[in-house]
């Protein structure tokens, strides 16, 4: 059935209200079941042995002693996960990351795994596995890894995207370039040029729930997997491919998810758990410990970025250029490319050029982290933009407004923008009371902008109407932060019924068609589009049934406010039929009533935000305190405004942690020194102020209600906004994230000494 996704203005009844979420009571009473809260009869405990070396050849693994330990039911190595990837290099990398094959490529890389009757036996068994390593030179720093003298992680990698194919392998997997115009000419027109180099350290998504799954492979070749994931359909595909199963034989159920932020979009432990279960012939539960989460899952890229921006005296940017180097861990990625695409996306530029380099290092495989790669690029660009505004003598907000992209602007990464929110968020920030509030001694204010593409993708949704007129909504996008409430609101809106009449669930992979995962801020955007489509399909059937009950042509039946209405004076005596009445009669009018939807949710509207923050810096210690924080972001249409605010606040808080404190610290031996929440310190309640939010609604023309994704953009501006605030407070430009007290103190002292 043709579905028209275009925006059409309407007065909302349910959308825009703030009801309690349907999964709420279970979550405040402890009943909600997360990854580790599920058990099966006869289940074994799985544990993974990890490399203590950053880079080592695995000469031999002897598992015989472990296998003989009473209570051990299976021991596996890479030989139990044979290569079935058939030349698919991305899948091969996933396989190799799940279980090292020839080389251990980072501290924490899985090399073997056991399943035993209890945790203690499993731990003992790991100690009995003998791995013969040949330790190799390693490199963990992104700039060091690019040098010719650096140890090469993978000698089959020859840099792609350069004009002449290199003759030697290197750690640079790919070069990408974006932009238009002529930057050389643009810089020639500039009266002022700012040029700076920046670094950001590696951070982790820091979800509180470690990765957890229960795998059960049966002797008939079917299997079940219970797992905390952002995308159970993708996990099914990847696991099935790696284990040589048909996807339909593997049912994956997504548990409640205790945070993901991009980190639960990749399989790590799940193929291992399935392989253990297959070998042991019993269900296996595999839960990562926190140090494993830090050492082996997650992290974002560490980066090194050079930026050059030129402008005329009147404040017009004439040219902008950036070189971005992003660490990928030991496998190829497209992290620098995303940085190169997003770096200047906020601005209207005639001459722009960005170049990205993907760099292999002996660190865990880089995973997506909320608007992946954009925060670091924004940190570098927005810091330079602030500095340039100062040199010109313009207010930083006015300078940005003057150069902001608008509808019709050709973006720095190619496409021409439709209606967008960068100008409006800047205007709102300019007029916000926060901008005019007085500052005290050692306090500084900073602001910055951020951009994220947003994603749509494949989506499948079922809407089933019960005989009692209640509605079951089955979606395939994992609910990471309240989307079941939002999607219930959308179903209620479209059907014209009460929110309480709808119950949304996340269906397993055997109950619904394929869905892409909840990433790219797509959960509510794409599944609301599919829900609207499914509801419209159901309404068509409801109208047909009403027409049948009345014995009139269906074309004379319209749907309004949850009722079928016979249109025209000739039907004056026909009382409207409610959804409930039509549902009650459904057994006699053709059976169950349902609406289905399968679509590719194209047209995810791009998203922009502007953040303002005040920071106090103690010049004696370098310690910082966040005094005030304001987020302004375009939501297109806020379906459940409280959860939209929550996304804004959560992204800002993660950005604050990244900007001020969080970083992976590696020793000279290439081992991670802070794989725990004590030493990798994420912001706690007493570190933060209230986070003020302002939701702008500039409708996305490609969604019936104007919805845009809202989840990710909020982490893009904070690094830069805080760096600008700290730089203003301390009187010295900060160029290295995180701005931990020692770094700030060193910068202040260097400025004083210099």
């Amino acid at each position: 059935m043709n579905f028209d996704p275009r925006f059409s203005g309407r007065n909302f009844t349910s959308v825009g209200t703030r009801p309690i979420r349907p999964d709420g009571v279970d979550k405040v009473t402890g009943r909600a079941r997360y990854g580790a809260d599920f058990n099966m009869a006869g289940q074994l405990v799985g544990r993974v042995l990890r490399s203590p070396h950053a880079h080592a050849t695995i000469r031999k693994i002897d598992t015989s002693k472990a296998e003989k330990l009473p209570g051990v039911k299976a021991v596996i190595t890479s030989t139990d996960l044979p290569d079935l990837t058939d030349g698919d290099s991305a899948m091969y990398d996933i396989l190799d990351n799940c279980m090292a094959r020839k080389k251990a490529l980072y501290d924490g890389h899985a090399v073997a795994a056991v399943a035993a009757v209890d945790a203690r036996t499993a731990r003992q068994a790991l100690k009995l596995i003998e791995v013969d390593y040949e330790v190799l030179p390693h490199v963990t720093d992104v700039d060091e890894a690019m040098k010719h003298s650096a140890p090469v992680l993978n000698d089959t990698i020859f840099t792609e995207g350069v004009e002449e194919k290199p003759t030697k392998p290197s750690n640079v997997t790919k070069r990408t370039q974006y932009g238009h115009g002529d930057v050389h000419e643009g810089f020639g027109q500039a009266d002022f040029i700012v040029e700076r180099s920046f670094k950001t350290e590696q951070t982790h998504q820091g979800y509180i729930e470690p990765h957890a799954c229960v795998a059960s492979v049966s002797s008939d070749g079917t299997a079940d997997l219970w797992v905390c994931t952002q995308g159970h359909f993708v996990y099914r595909q990847h696991c099935a491919q790696l284990l040589g199963m048909e996807a339909s034989k593997l049912r994956v159920t997504s548990s409640e998810i205790g945070g993901g932020f991009g980190g639960k979009t990749h399989v790590w432990a799940e193929p291992v758990a399935l392989a253990l279960s297959r070998k042991a012939g019993r269900p296996v539960k595999l839960v990562m410990a926190r140090d494993e989460v830090f050492r082996a899952s997650g992290p974002t890229s560490a980066t090194s970025i050079d930026v050059r921006i030129g402008a005329r005296k009147d404040g017009t940017i004439t040219a902008a250029e950036a070189t971005l180097r992003y660490s990928c861990g030991p496998y190829a990625g497209m992290w620098a490319e995303l940085g190169a695409m997003t770096a200047f996306a906020c601005y209207k530029l005639d001459n722009v050029k960005t170049v990205g380099y993907e760099v292999l290092v002996n660190r865990p495989k880089t995973a997506a982290y909320r608007a992946p790669s954009a925060p670091m690029a924004a940190f570098a660009v927005e810091s330079a933009v602030d500095e340039l505004a100062k040199e010109i003598g313009m207010d930083p907000v006015e300078f940005r407004i003057r150069n902001a992209a608008q509808e019709g602007t050709r973006s720095s990464y190619g496409p021409v923008y439709g209606p967008i929110g960068i100008g409006p968020t800047l205007e709102a920030a300019k007029n916000h009371p926060h901008m005019k509030a007085p500052l005290g001694k050692n306090q500084g204010r900073g602001m910055a902008c951020g951009f994220w593409f947003n994603f749509g993708g494949q989506t499948c949704t079922d809407l089933n109407i019960g005989m009692d007129g209640s509605v079951s909504l089955a979606v395939g996008t994992v609910d990471v932060g309240g989307s079941r409430a939002s999607l219930s609101l959308v179903a209620a809106e479209e059907l014209g019924i009460a929110y309480e009449q709808v119950k949304a669930v996340v269906a397993d992979t055997s109950s619904l068609g394929y869905n892409d995962m909840t990433d790219g801020s797509r959960g509510t955007f794409s599944s609301s589009m599919a829900t609207i489509s499914a509801a419209r399909n159901a309404i068509k059937i409801l109208r047909e049934r009403a027409a049948q009950m009345w014995d009139i042509p269906v074309d004379d039946v319209v749907w309004e406010k949850g009722h079928a209405i016979a249109k025209g004076e000739k039907y004056g005596n026909l009382a409207a039929l409610s959804l409930k009445e039509i549902a009650a009669a459904s057994g006699k009018t053709g059976g169950p009533i349902a609406g289905h939807s399968e679509l590719v949710a194209d047209g995810a509207g791009v998203s922009f935000a502007t953040h303002i923050c005040d920071i106090e810096v103690d010049p004696e210690t370098g310690a910082t305190r966040v005094l005030r924080y304001t987020v302004v972001q375009d939501a297109g249409k806020a379906v459940h405004p409280t959860y939209v605010e929550g996304q804004y606040q959560g992204g800002a808080a993660q950005g604050i942690g990244w900007a001020l404190n969080e970083e992976y610290i590696y020793g000279k031996d290439g081992r991670l020194q802070n794989p725990g929440f004590l030493d990798y310190r994420i912001p706690v309640c007493s570190d933060l102020p209230m986070i003020d939010t302002q939701i702008l609604e500039i409708p996305n023309p490609n969604h019936p209600y104007g919805v845009r994704g809202v989840g990710e953009t909020s982490i893009v501006p904070p690094l830069a906004a805080i760096a600008n605030a700290v730089s203003n407070a301390a009187g010295v430009r900060m160029t290295h994230i995180p701005m931990s007290p020692p770094r700030i103190l060193a910068a202040i002292e260097a400025e004083r000494g210099g």
């Binding site: 509180i208 409640e256 945070g259 959560g650």
Partner: protein, 158 residues
């Protein structure tokens, strides 16, 4: 290794179990007694997701041995509601959307209950420091603090 027989009180009920001497109270609650409301986020007492109240004291159950619960009184999130009536903190967490993923929520509810038992009228700063032992990665804490403030007001009026 021989099990240790333990007799204790959990949410007002007498409970007996056998546990290993090196087994944490968190593992006993979750794996032996099926009380999975307390979560393991770190296992090292840094995240507060496993918070329980032990004889009127807020503790991380991952840092307590199962054997140490002998003769003690344990309160977990499963015991907060009275029948189908939610505790005011639970209700306010829902109304303020003080949870997104919800994994930290049981720990925050227990920590907030302990805080309000000791300080029924806390300032924002006292709430922030009172809950500083619990990590939340989703919310930025704003709505959690507001929910606790609101619950404190309701409980004072009750």
């Amino acid at each position: 290794m021989a099990g240790v027989a333990v007799s204790t009180t959990i949410n007002g009920d007498n409970v007996e179990y056998l546990c290993q001497p090196d087994e944490t109270l968190l593992d006993v609650l979750r794996d032996r007694l099926g009380l999975t409301g307390a979560k393991e986020g770190c296992g090292t007492g840094d995240c507060g997701a496993c918070s329980i109240i032990l004889d009127d004291r807020l503790v991380c159950s991952c840092l307590v041995l199962g054997a140490e619960a002998e003769g003690r009184r344990i309160e977990t999130v499963e015991g907060m509601a009275h029948g189908d009536t939610l505790h005011p903190l639970q209700q306010k967490f829902l109304e303020h959307a003080a949870l997104q993923c919800g994994i930290c929520t049981p720990g925050f509810l227990i920590a907030a209950k302990d805080l309000l038992a000791k300080n029924p009228d806390p300032t924002e700063e006292e709430i922030r420091f009172g809950l500083a032992g619990n990590l939340c990665r989703c919310t930025g804490y704003d709505k959690i603090v507001r929910a606790v403030q609101d619950a404190a007001n309701v409980m004072k009026g009750a």
